[in-house]
């Protein structure tokens, strides 16, 4: 029983930890793309990777200040969004999806390749670039803090605080934007692109703006992840993360301001609880070793997410908070 409580406490930490922030920011970006504008961006993790490596390369390799690194990451994300959007935003939705997933995988392969090692550190990645940021913490970054039975280091707490601040800021931004005339045009594009075009709006430009905005939010997610882990490794930015963020968004409810945030917290909680719980059950022999060994638990989580994503889409596409009429399910 105490193990179950421990699992609950560890999962509770995941509820507020940097990974929930990471997925929340990815999902807020995807919400701008998919939820509001109807763009199928399956390469969100590439934006996060550029954000994380923007800081890592600027600080570790070029010796620039931390905040310049943040700007580099944002600029890289903007450039990527323009590059991806230019050829595909005039085409049907699934073309963007294929190109973005291809770009994300291609960029990861490029970053981990031998020839990129002098810049990105190759498969081993880069580290030691977050000291400037961690030392800004108003408390001792190395000290331990007990909060509701979970243990946090000062640095973790500082990253989490700033991360949730970012999530709040971007949620407010999305909320205000979607109430503005710009937001109404973007949502109209999701519903009927031709009608918007007939009203004289430049659909292509609006889609591009949405793609850039969502991509930059995703880049901030990557920065939080890189700063929190203190390292940037290309293989951390696997395509599966994009789909985890999609699962979080759809779980919470697409086209809702708080949908991606609540969805990410819940997803991380479920994943961590399943992980710790399954390990405890296996260690205690309740689940026989022959059926499932503890090394398989990490994969089981992805199996569950895949299954959950399918079931959600089929039976409750609007998620917890969403409105079924607002969820973009038909390609134009």
């Amino acid at each position: 029983m105490s193990e179950l409580l421990d699992a609950f406490a560890i999962a509770g930490k995941a509820f507020f930890g940097f990974q929930a922030i990471f997925f929340a920011l990815l999902a807020i970006g995807i919400n701008v793309h998919f939820g509001y504008t109807g763009l199928l961006n399956f390469g969100q993790i590439a934006f996060a990777m550029l954000g994380g490596f923007g800081i890592a390369i600027s600080v570790s390799m070029w010796g620039l200040p931390f905040w310049v690194g943040v700007l580099v990451g944002v600029a890289a994300a903007v450039v990527l969004a323009l590059l991806l959007g230019l050829p595909t935003l005039r085409l049907r939705a699934d073309y963007l999806s294929i190109v973005t997933i291809a770009a994300a995988e291609g960029l990861r392969l490029l970053f981990r390749s031998v020839s990129a090692t002098p810049v990105t550190g190759g498969t081993r990645g880069l580290s030691a670039f977050n000291a400037d940021f961690i030392n800004l913490a108003p408390w001792d970054p190395a000290g331990r803090h007990q909060i509701l039975g979970t243990s946090w280091s000062g640095g973790e707490l500082w990253v989490a605080l700033i991360g949730w601040l970012l999530v709040t800021v971007f949620s407010l931004l999305v909320w205000q934007l979607m109430r503005s005339p710009w937001g109404r045009v973007v949502k109209a594009i999701r519903e009927d692109e031709d009608a918007v075009r007939a009203l004289g709006k430049n659909v292509y430009a609006y889609k591009m703006q949405a793609l850039v905005l969502g991509g930059v939010i995703g880049a901030f997610g990557g920065m939080v992840y890189a700063v929190a882990t203190g390292s940037a490794i290309p293989d951390q930015y696997q395509n599966a993360n994009t789909f985890l963020a999609y699962a979080a968004l759809i779980l919470g409810g697409a086209a809702r301001v708080l949908g991606p945030v609540i969805g990410s917290m819940l997803l991380l909680f479920i994943l961590q609880f399943a992980d710790t719980g399954l390990r405890a059950l296996i260690d205690n022999g309740i689940i026989p070793e022959a059926l499932l060994s503890s090394t398989d638990v990490a994969q089981i989580r992805f199996v569950l997410v895949g299954l959950g994503l399918m079931l959600l889409l089929v039976f409750r596409p609007q998620g917890i908070f969403g409105d079924r009429r607002e969820v973009m399910l038909d390609a134009r």
Binding site: L84, L91, V99, L292, G308
Partner: protein, 435 residues
């Protein structure tokens, strides 16, 4: 058949769900899934490997010594006439494998990795050890010879992608579904063939045929258990696309749990010496891969052109409502497309496993190149998939002339983006399809 004319005009046509068949197939697949770990755990841990170079062929009679990480001797063995060795070890853990460089024939030298290698053996795994022997051929040949070599290799790879991608393109053409789980059909096919071949001890060719039947069943199960019911519910295409991503994750990580994160070769055709054709060299298994791909693709083309079901497929892909109203049973055609796609993906998976070994995410990595090929040729057209895949395969291999080989896939993905700028409908596609 006549009833289909009265169905409402929709991209996703309703149809009757043969629930019994679905359950039977599900039960069969479950049984198979339960069987596999059982088969896997019957084997014991070992280190295996093959000593060969392209010029000398397999090297026999080389003593191989295996020690534990602490230096305790485990066993010694000699390579057989196929150059192979296999030394059983007491359990999972780290082992040091040493070969005797004195016993190597003239002209063959140790590679950069030296005479001793430390390997980690997983539970129930025959861990392959790669010594990387050198015989001076790796850097031989001028630029043009190398280009021809890469061209031939690119044609092999492109044909392989085409075999996998024909199903993807036909499924897109007939149902409108962008199936992100198609790569898993490739992986499942290759892994099923691996279990039948390596664990079951059946030669690879019959094993492949059995695996293709299983692959067709998996394809049919996809259609009957998921996509046909979803079409009946009127699920939108974007929702279906995200469902296919969920399915892809589900299957991919299930394969990793059942099969493991290792890469293993098939038991047959591993020890082949390359044959010199003048301007290029090739192993017989690469040649066979090309011949099999060409024959299969010609058969597919003949089927599409000459047979009734092939004509029906093209009709459904061209205009589904018109096909339905002229008496074609659209759901039956789609089922056949899925079964064919599953069988072809399996064959492609086995061919890929022959050249690159079997891995849990091999299909997913190939998927993006399949998409590149299919988009390049024109989404939804069977012949477009063929032409596009061939171009992607050749481009990916030839690009290693100028870029390092570990980023060669990036070149293929870049080609996809460039093509979409220049000619979004693809080489053989029609403008109406791209929106």
């Amino acid at each position: 058949m006549g009833t289909s004319a009265r169905r409402r005009p929709s991209r996703w046509l309703p149809g009757r769900r043969p629930l019994v068949l679905t359950l039977l197939l599900a039960a069969f697949t479950m049984a198979l899934a339960m069987l596999m770990p059982g088969v896997a755990s019957a084997a014991n841990e070992a280190v295996t490997g093959t000593l060969q170079t392209s010029r000398s062929g397999p090297i026999a009679g080389v003593p191989v010594t295996v020690e534990t990480a602490a230096g305790d001797p485990v066993d010694t063995a000699e390579t057989d006439e196929d150059g192979r060795f296999s030394v059983p070890v007491p359990g999972p853990g780290e082992y040091e494998v040493t070969i005797d460089p004195e016993a190597l024939p003239d002209g063959v030298e140790l590679g950069e990795r030296g005479e001793s290698l430390t390997v980690t053996v997983g539970p129930n795994r025959a861990q392959p050890v790669l010594f990387g022997l050198a015989d001076g051929t790796s850097n031989a040949g001028g630029g043009s010879v190398e280009a021809v070599q890469l061209l031939v290799d690119g044609i092999r790879f492109g044909l392989l992608i085409a075999v996998c991608a024909v199903g993807l393109s036909l499924i897109y053409g007939t149902t409108g579904l962008t199936n992100f789980a198609h790569g898993e059909l490739v992986t499942i096919g290759a892994v099923v063939a691996w279990y039948i071949n390596v664990q079951g001890g059946i030669p690879l060719i019959p094993a492949t045929i059995i695996a293709m039947i299983v692959g067709a069943a998996v394809g049919a199960l996809n259609e009957l258990a998921i996509w046909r019911p979803l079409r009946r519910r009127g699920t939108g295409l974007v929702a279906a696309l995200v469902v296919s991503i969920g399915l892809s994750m589900l299957l991919r990580y299930l394969v990793q749990i059942v099969y493991g994160g290792f890469s293993s070769p098939y038991a047959d055709f591993q020890t082949q010496r390359t044959i010199d054709y003048g301007v290029f060299t090739m192993t017989n298994r690469s040649l066979a891969s090309i011949v099999i791909s060409v024959v299969v693709l010609v058969l597919v083309a003949l089927m599409l052109q000459r047979t009734a079901i092939g004509k029906a497929m093209r009709a459904v892909a061209d205009n589904r409502d018109l096909a339905a109203s002229s008496g074609i049973d659209v759901n039956r055609v789609i089922l056949v497309v899925w079964m064919m796609g599953g069988a072809l993906a399996t064959l492609g998976g086995v061919l890929l496993g022959l050249s690159d070994q079997v891995q849990w995410d091999m299909g997913f990595r190939l998927l993006l190149l399949m998409f590149a090929g299919v988009t390049l040729g024109g989404l939804g057209t069977a012949y477009g998939a063929l032409v596009g895949s061939l171009i992607v395969g050749v481009f990916v291999q030839m690009s290693t002339l100028v870029i390092p080989s570990d980023v060669k896939y990036v070149g293929g993905l870049l080609l996809l983006i460039v093509i979409l700028v220049l000619r979004p409908q693809g080489i053989l596609g029609s403008r109406a399809r791209i929106g």
